[in-house]
């Protein structure tokens, strides 16, 4: 079973940085121009653009030209690998509660 193909590890490394997670949070509600995103950070504009590039490459945000500015929006479905590890635990408990049921019914027969 392949859990983390390369495209997914890109998503994981893309959100491994605090600033990029904050950028995703900022884009949760609305599409925003790069200037509005940069206003939330102390770092230089090129540094902000570099982080946005990483998010773009991972497919987590999309870029759109609007006049002379670039606007960014979140692509939430790209975060699905992030939710998958929760799904592992969901299956984990499904499986173990089944085992608990088997355990109890076996004890009953004894």
């Amino acid at each position: 079973m392949t859990i983390m193909p390369d495209c997914e590890t890109d998503v994981f490394s893309a959100i491994s940085h605090r600033a990029r997670r904050r950028m995703l949070d900022l884009l949760t509600g609305a599409e925003r121009p790069v200037s509005a995103i940069a206003a939330h950070f102390e770092m230089s504009r090129p540094a902000v653009s570099q982080h946005l590039r990483i998010l773009l490459d991972a497919g987590l945000v999309r870029e759109r030209r609007h006049g002379r500015e670039r606007r960014y929006r979140l692509v939430p479905e790209q975060l699905s690998p992030v939710r998958d590890w929760i799904a592992h635990y969901d299956r984990f408990w499904e499986d173990h509660l089944q085992r608990l049921q088997n355990h109890l019914s076996t004890k009953n027969e004894e």
Partner: protein
């Protein structure tokens, strides 16, 4: 944004019997993993998930601490398996249901908005991601072994 897994099952056995199955070391070893559990608040224990070389799983240790122990109603323990699965909580709540028991399981504390602390990515490879992959393999291995 925190995420919680909820499960609910009906068991034909009374709460006292279900309680023994979730609060006894040997019983837990039977349906969970080898462990050094003791049913008292503050007790630290671990589950040793054995390796399964045939599915490429190296095994792992889950560190736990009993947080609540109210027989035969409620058992809560912490669950730390590395990376962002740190200090999550597993709770079993038992309710009488006719002759049997309604069992409510909640596994809470998964932080979905910021599950990937910079720390988790230090060191060789994506340690926790590999661990979770391994866990999934172990579950798949068990499922196929059971069928």
């Amino acid at each position: 944004m925190k995420h919680t897994i909820y499960k609910e099952i009906s068991l034909p056995q009374p709460p006292e019997q279900v309680w023994r199955a979730i609060s006894n070391r040997a019983a837990l070893a039977d349906w969970m993993y080898p462990n050094d559990f003791e049913p008292r608040v503050g007790h630290r224990f671990s589950f040793h998930v054995p390796p399964k070389p045939e599915v490429g799983f190296d095994g792992l240790i889950v560190n736990c601490e009993v947080l609540e122990c109210d027989p035969p109603n409620q058992l809560v323990f912490s669950w730390s398996a590395g990376g962002p699965v740190d200090n999550t909580q597993v709770s079993f709540r038992l309710e009488p249901d006719g002759e049997g028991t309604r069992l409510f399981l909640a596994h809470s504390g998964f932080d979905l908005s910021h599950p990937f602390g910079d720390q988790a990515f230090k060191g060789a490879g994506y340690g926790w991601a590999m661990m979770l992959g391994q866990l999934a393999k172990a579950i798949a291995g068990e499922a196929s072994a059971g069928n």
